[in-house]
Symmetry: C2
Subunit: 384 residues, 2 copies
């Protein structure tokens, strides 16, 4: 096991009805900016429920944060928050709203152009505290200090990580996911699966607990994912899915082990240039990435084959092939295509994607920093 | 899954050499009381290492906190801390030192007799902040808000839990465990095992992740425990053991599921009256407790048999018997006897133990609150 620091101070309020408990979690006298996305939380009553829980609190609202939240939109919220002297942010939505709200939190007191938080990883000296009400199990943003933001004007999709933007609290109410479209649930399952793979399918680090936990999360996704689509109002299933997605990226399974993230970095460019959902890009890139890097990941792929897919027969290479195929089939079974061609993207797209990776300095990706532009190109070709 | 609140703000500094990193974790200008046990940290150099890391910090020391830390000893530390105007506590040791330090932290500002924190669960309005340097993987106290304290004069062994006594940080350096006697390592493995069993072997709550995590921790103990005894200086093994013991009782696997703790409550009385090590009492009580309550715990015992011990053949009752036998054999393989007779305790001890349980109000134990004094007596008889 590698040395590590683990510190996750987010308080989780889990279960049906927990929105009613957020009042005491907001600092006394705080002026709260409630942020949200396209407005589904207005239609389904979640915003009203939040406002009822905050009846004694002064609130301002900012809606319209889009999937792959943009710098352009978020800066409008920053201006509003500065004008209104907001001192607490409450994100109500999925990973995009939460990621966007983290950027708002860091940008409000930032001295200079907040884009520098992303473009040159400018240090964050302070951030406005935030809480979240999660409506979509997927990104894990509700219990970590990371965010991914897009600049629409330049097609840049970049990330920042800072302890100051860990949510103070997050409400995880599985019943809030009942009305989500199947595509978003499927995307969430793929997203969580890929997060686990990025921290698990690397090389062995003799980290027995982290491996067992990662495998336990993958097994839960495989068991509960299809049920979540077939029976959308099964609260127990949605609860397991929600907690799994949170634990997939809260720092726990990644503590003390090597991490990859090449799939995410390549996927980000596909979203930036072609507008695919984030999870769709992961479903496309991950199987190809594992195939291209199968030698480097051999030991963990064999462990994955055995413990997650129960593949113990046949030659080792056959087991690895079977495990990658099962992974692809699992994503496809959720109606998430795993080939670029499934989204109408052809060979001509590869050179521009590789050029974007180069422009963003993504030339040494992966747990061994050996995924150069050539290997990324090979991955994209295999993903056609 | 049941609704739950999970909030664990302890910062973990994991790995060899991490003691050197504690300086910045202590509030600026704090006057620190370093607490420890019987003095092994003086002999093995750990105390010097701590003092070197705190070279810029004003420190006071208090040694002599015993296994099953006593109110009598701890109150001396409270007086010292009050006299010296201490404003941060640093526990250097195992679970007893850390538990004792949590009591000191809560007692220093307590108005009245601090024994009431234990005897009548008096509310804790403030506690002095504390950090820990863990030297013995076992209790999980380094990442939770619980403590068990003994009053020597009356043979009372009682617990309290409060968010204010979560350590601000804990150093987990596996190399600090190299010089521990085998008995303490074995005890630690049994202790962690029992902590997991108390949160896992209850009744199904459709909490898939919590179950997988609990099983992963048990499998790791079974795999790494014997190696930890056979190869005391294997850092990777000790690292896995240390992180497992912490995660066994940091709130994660117990969130959203029923919990038992009857084994612990009965075990506490055995320590209080007969002085057995805490883990020895758990090794004695747990197998008998599972046997006596096998009907109530049937579904989870079958899951445990299959997923932890790979027992899938034969009748269900045979599998349950085999799983309980494997549990007992595992403890015995670590040289921890699993019968009261193994510690020279006979039938005449049972009535006084049951009387102690009654005196402490332990008349409705377990996840269904149905372990009354009669069932506790049955457990103790089966454990003879």
């Amino acid at each position: 096991m590698q040395n590590f620091v683990f510190h996750n101070p987010t308080k989780i309020l889990f279960g049906a009805g927990q929105i009613a408990a957020i009042g005491p979690e907001i600092p006394t006298g705080a002026r709260v900016l409630i942020t949200y996305g396209g407005g589904s939380i207005i239609k389904n009553g979640t915003l009203d429920e939040v406002k009822q829980a905050l009846a004694e609190v002064a609130t301002v609202e900012f809606g319209g944060i889009e999937p792959n939240p943009t710098y352009e939109t978020l800066m409008q919220a920053v201006e509003l928050a500065r004008r209104e002297h907001v001192d607490f942010l409450l994100a109500v939505g999925g990973g995009s709203v939460i990621d966007g709200t983290k950027f708002i939190a860091a940008a409000i007191p930032f001295d200079g152009d907040p884009w520098e938080i992303l473009s040159r990883q400018a240090p964050i000296r302070a951030a406005v505290p935030l809480g979240t009400v999660l409506t979509l199990p997927a990104t894990g943003s509700e219990m970590n200090g990371a965010a991914v933001i897009t600049r629409a004007a330049t097609h840049d999709k970049l990330a920042f990580i800072d302890p100051s933007v860990f949510p103070r609290f997050s409400v995880l109410d599985p019943t809030k996911t009942f009305t989500l479209p199947p595509r978003q649930i499927a995307n969430g399952i793929v997203d969580a699966f890929a997060h686990i793979a990025e921290q698990y399918l690397t090389y062995p680090a003799d980290a027995k607990v982290q491996d067992r936990f990662a495998e336990g999360l993958l097994l839960t996704l495989i068991e509960e994912g299809p049920k979540a689509l077939a029976e959308p109002r099964d609260e127990a299933v949605r609860a397991n899915l929600m907690w799994t997605a949170t634990l997939a990226l809260n720092g726990l399974i990644g503590a003390g082990v090597p991490q990859d993230w090449a799939t995410h970095m390549v996927g980000h460019e596909i979203t930036a240039l072609h507008g695919l959902d984030h999870a769709q890009t992961l479903a496309v890139v991950l199987p190809a990435m594992l195939q291209i890097r199968r030698l480097d990941k051999r030991a963990k792929l064999l462990q994955y084959a055995e413990r997650v897919w129960n593949l113990t027969e046949g030659q080792e290479d056959e087991r690895i092939d079977a495990a990658i195929t099962r992974t692809r089939d699992f994503f496809e079974s959720l109606q998430v295509p795993t080939r670029l061609s499934g989204y109408g993207i052809g060979e001509e797209a590869i050179a521009p994607l590789v050029a974007q990776l180069e422009r963003h300095g993504m030339t040494r990706l992966g747990e061994r920093a050996d995924v150069d532009l050539e290997r990324s190109r090979q991955v994209l070709e295999l993903a056609l």
